[in-house]
Each structure stands twice: as C-alpha cells, then as structure tokens.
C-alpha cells in the first residue's frame, strides 16, 4: 500500500516537473501534460485521427504475423541446431554474430524487397524476434540433463515421450523467457519499421503528427502505443508465470 502511494506521488511529481518544463520550452517542441490531455481526448474520440482504430488494428496484425513467424522459425531452427550437434556447432557462432549486428541496418534492404506496406514491417519484426527465440531454444536444449534422458529411455520412453516429458520441462524457463523477449522485440521491430517508412499503422500516425509538429497529438499517439507495448508484455509475463507454476 505504501509502495502504491509512493508510486503515485512519484508520478505526480514527474508530471509536475513536465508541466513546468513544458510551459517554459518552445511549444512546438515540447508540450506540458495539460496540453496532452485534450489531445489524448480528441485522439480517443477519433476527432484528430479518425483512422486510429484501423491503424491500431493494422499494427496489431503486423505484430501478430511477425511473432507467429518468429516463433515458428525460432523453434524450428533452435531445435534443429540444438538436436544435431554438428549442425549446431557449424551454425551457432554465425547466428550469434548475426544477432550482435544492430538489426536496423537490414531495414533499408527489407523495404526494397518487401515494399512500403505491411510486409516489410512484418519482416523486420520477425528479424528482431527470431534471434532471441532461436538462441533460447539452443540454450535450453543444452540445459537438458542427459542422465534424465537415459532414465526416461530406461523406463520405456521413445523420442516423442523424451521430448515431451524430459526436454520441454527441463528447458521451460529458458524457452518461455526467450519467447517473451522475442515478443517484445517483434513489437519494437514493427513499430520502428512503421516509423522509418510506411503509409499506415501506429508508426505512420506518429510520423505524421511529428512531421507536422503537432507535438501534443504526437505525445498522445506515443502514449497509446505505449499501452499496446506494455499490454503485450503483461500478457507475456502472465503466460510465463503460468508456465512456471506448471513446471514446479
């Protein structure tokens, strides 16, 4: 309870500082909360940007597509590299090196390949989400205690049963952690992709407002996007907690 009050106090203090600083600065570049609130109301009532629901829906669908692809490819590649030691040893370092490259350097060529529409955003979100998922599966496979696999085999487990009853529970922590990181990065990838160049979606609206120096609208749009990002992370953490309870 005390933590909650302190948190609310902190939030109020931050807003107050923002209000004072916003009023003092150039109104084209910085806006105080008192100016953002009406902008947020206009936004949510669809007065300033009537295409908001369509944009939100588009961005959500892009995230969904990117994440689905990243999960499928990440699990597939991760298990393939993890189960076949030779393949894993050949590809593992390359994968880690590719992961270390700032992914945004690929975005111009993705736009050339996939155009300005949703496909290039999905591709970029996929690219960001794919690596942490693959690497988590790889790390997870290495965590499996071979002794437990032997025990299961001695008690009659075939390959499928070993996978389901020994490997999955052994690596669940790492796997779920990777899936969660992957989701966060997919969201970032799609939104950054939209901001860097697109005709629709939340990123395009943000770009529009910012480009026209409609700073209050811009901040309101960022707040809405923030809710989307935080919401997806809360959902992922709920799933993670559930998975943890399931293994314990």
């Amino acid at each position: 309870m005390r933590v909650l009050w302190l948190r609310l106090g902190l939030l109020a203090a931050l807003l107050a500082v923002w209000e004072v600083a916003g009023n003092a600065a150039n109104p084209l570049l910085a806006v105080p909360p008192s100016a953002v609130l009406p902008a947020l109301r206009d936004l949510l009532l669809l007065r300033s940007y009537p295409e908001l629901p369509a944009s939100l829906w588009l961005t959500l669908r892009e995230i969904g597509a990117a994440y689905t692809l990243a999960v499928a490819a990440g699990l597939g590649c991760g298990f393939m590299l993890g189960m076949h030691r030779l393949v894993g040893r050949v590809w593992g370092p390359m994968l880690a090196a590719l992961y270390a490259v700032p992914a945004v350097v690929w975005y111009p060529s993705l736009m050339l390949f996939f155009g300005l529409d949703a496909a290039s955003k999905i591709a970029f979100g996929f690219l960001l989400g794919f690596f942490p998922i693959t690497l988590a599966v790889l790390a997870g496979v290495r965590q499996v205690n071979p002794q437990l696999v032997t025990v299961a085999r001695a008690y009659g487990a075939g390959a499928v049963t070993v996978f389901r009853r020994v490997m999955l529970p052994s690596m669940l922590f790492t796997l779920v952690g990777g899936l969660r990181t992957g989701l966060a990065l997919c969201v970032i990838g799609v939104i950054v992709g939209e901001i860097l160049g697109s005709k629709a979606g939340m990123g395009a609206l943000i770009n529009h407002a910012y480009g026209l120096l409609r700073t209050a609208d811009y901040v309101a749009l960022v707040l809405v996007t923030l809710v989307l990002v935080v919401g997806s992370d809360v959902l992922a953490s709920l799933l993670e907690r559930r998975a943890r309870r399931w293994t314990e």
Partner: protein, 260 residues
C-alpha cells in the same frame, strides 16, 4: 538362499568396444554370466572395468558388439520396463516432479490411469520411509531419500529384474550401511532378481547371494563367489572375515592393474 530357481538372465560371450580419440578401447571382453531367478548378484571390480556398461546392456540402453544377452530366454534389444527396472548411480529424479510423481513415472509411461498409479506409489512410500515426503521436490530431499525415491520408481513398475548401478555410491558411510539394511529388507520381501554394481566389499558381502569379481579393463569375470550364509548376516563372524580377505585380495590385484 542361494538356490537359483532356474536361469533368468544369460549373458553369452559379450564384448563391447568404445571409440575414443586415442583409438578403440575394449570395455568388456567375452563376458559370460548366468543369473538365476531370485538371485542377488553383485558385480564388483576396479573403476572402468565395464560394470556399468554391462548393466546398460542388460537394460537395453547399450548394444553389445559381440555376443548376446537373454532375459527370460529372449534377447535384449531395447529397454523393456515390463521386465527390467533400473536404479542409476545419481538418483536421476525429475526436478519438476514431486517424490510421489517421480515414483509414478514408469507407470505413467506405461499408460496406467492416474488414480491407480497414485495409489501404487502411495503404498510404496511407506516401506520407502518417505510417507511424509510425497509432495516434496527432489531439491528438498536428502541424498539417501532421493535414492529411495529412485528405488521406489524402479519398484513401482514391478519388473522381475532390478538393475542397480552403485545406488549408494554417492552417500556417506553411515547412510550407506543403513540403506544396505533397508534394501536387504525390501529384496527379501519382493523377491526381485537384483544385479547390483558396487565398489563396497561390505555391501557385496552383506547383501549378495553371488559376487562376480571383474578384471581391470577389458572387463572379464575373474571369479565367482557363492554366499550361502543366512540373512541378516553378522559382518563380524570368522567366516565373514575370511571371505572379506579373500574378496579383497582378488579385487586388490585388479585394482592395482587398473592403476598402472
């Protein structure tokens, strides 16, 4: 007590080689052994003499290069939990399963309905001395308790043959002696056929109806000792002291060879 009521396990001319970075190593060479139903047969010998490999073959986890192994007259080609249950050296419990769920594991794999396997496992916990620990996870159990859960998991599937690979090897001396007494009690009640691998002379003499001494690598059966004393055995008798001296001199010779 030694009377074998017919042969249950036949190991016939088994040889096993492993490929290592420094060339092939022969782990077992032409090993033959016959074990009767109800026997408590102990394999003892220097480290690396292939005792665990032999056990792995009986469990169907390792294939021989030459020779064959028969259980109930049928060749062993893969793990068969209906006939053989294995207890491993480090308990090998699943950390995400409770003690009870670990005991149930083999039954779950065999598709036994949840209610029935739960009942079987609960009945086993009493004699295992784990009645109050059904819902505990392996990390909450002591070394001896973990090993008893592992033995419970093996007993639960009610196979005729129990393979035990140094089950008490990781325990301290006192716990080890007590676990030996406990195992003897369980064995005499369940009448399983046990193949037991150990480094401990005490365990071999206290528990076995037969002791097979193995040579240094490549492992062969060096000699066979039949023990006919009544259970529970007094470890201080003159007869036992003589047996102990005899067994030790044979193992000592092989252990010295293994060290060279």
């Amino acid at each position: 007590m030694t009377a074998a009521r017919g042969e249950l396990i036949a190991i016939e001319g088994v040889t096993k080689r492993y490929l290592t970075s420094s060339g092939p190593v022969e782990a077992l060479h032409d090993v033959s052994l016959s074990v009767g139903e109800g026997d408590f047969c102990t394999l003892i010998g220097p480290s690396g003499c292939g005792k665990s490999t032999l056990l792995g073959m009986l469990g169907g986890l390792v294939a021989p290069d030459e020779g064959r192994l028969l259980v109930d007259g049928q060749p062993v080609t893969m793990p068969d939990p209906r006939r053989v249950a294995t207890v491993f050296q480090d308990a090998g419990l699943f950390p995400w399963r409770t003690a009870l769920e670990n005991v149930e594991f083999g039954l779950a794999l065999q598709g036994v309905p949840a209610a029935r396997r739960r009942r079987t496992a609960r009945e086993l916990l009493g004699p295992l001395g784990l009645s109050g620990f059904a819902e505990k996870y392996p990390r909450e159990l002591s070394g001896g308790m973990k090993q008893r859960v592992a033995i419970g998991r093996a007993l639960a599937i009610d196979a005729k043959i129990l393979l035990m690979d140094e089950p008490f090897g990781a325990l301290d001396e006192q716990t080890r002696v007590l676990m030996g007494e406990w195992l003897l009690d369980i064995w005499r009640r369940t009448r399983k056929t046990v193949i037991f691998v150990t480094h401990s002379l005490h365990e071999a003499l206290f528990l076995s109806t037969r002791v097979a001494v193995m040579t240094a690598r490549p492992g062969r059966i060096k000699s066979m000792l039949e023990l006919s004393m009544e259970y529970p055995r007094s470890m201080e008798s003159a007869e036992m002291a003589a047996l102990r001296a005899k067994l030790w001199s044979e193992i000592r010779e092989e252990s010295l060879r293994a060290m060279r």
